[in-house]
Symmetry: C2
Subunit: 118 residues, 2 copies
Amino acid sequence: MKVQNLLENTKQQMRKGILELCIMSIISDEGEAYPSDIITRLQESQLIVVQGTMYPLLARLKSAGLLNYTWKESDAGPPRKYYALTDGGSEFLDGLMGTWGQLVKAVKHSTKNLKVNK
Amino acid sequence: MKVQNLLENTKQQMRKGILELCIMSIISDEGEAYPSDIITRLQESQLIVVQGTMYPLLARLKSAGLLNYTWKESDAGPPRKYYALTDGGSEFLDGLMGTWGQLVKAVKHSTKNLKVNK
DNA sequence: GCAAGGTACTTTGCAATGCAAGGTACTATC
DNA sequence: GATAGTACCTTGCATTGCAAAGTACCTTGC
């Protein structure tokens, strides 16, 4: 396996786990949002997420009671499933932010002697 | 599944992928290091990594040509496998740092309207 | 009306990988 | 030669992002 592929692979690995954070954060920001909308918003942050990732993830969060949704008509096209945070979801998002902060700190500590790191 | 468990689960997910970065960074810092040593160093950064994670990961990096190792006698106990970065490994580490930086930026962008985020 | 195109939601199966648990092996101490 | 400590290694499982393929609804043009 080439180093280039390895990098891609690892990059993908790194993204795992933070998707929930970003997605819930966007929903929280918008108040409510539908999947295709979220995907577009993530692209603005240079995070490419596809439907095959988004739908199962939202379904997981929904069944965990962190999100709920309502169907809404669209001006053009089929109805959309608008997701919003539940109270538990807001709590969870707070927790995720804390975890993320810890993680960033841990990496900073581990790489503090690396010249690239600033 | 309780929210508390979900948080633990996601936290674990987040750690995936950044382990390579932290481990290679530590090896780079030390010049060479053996697995149990690296685990101890990671704990200082609040990153708990166990042997069942460490050994396969190092083996992967080794077989990818990013690390090599030499056996060294120990003052007490069995000999140790000291890992060091190859030239390719250093390059790879640079790449990982870049990827990590992008990711942090992406999360920052996605969560910029969240009050917790600063 | 009905074909074509666009938008949106859903499911299936694969691949990667952290981890728990259990195992092997070498050295030192008593 | 038994016990304890340190170190390395392997197996199998569970999670989950993703590619690919499928279903369904709405609008537009003829």
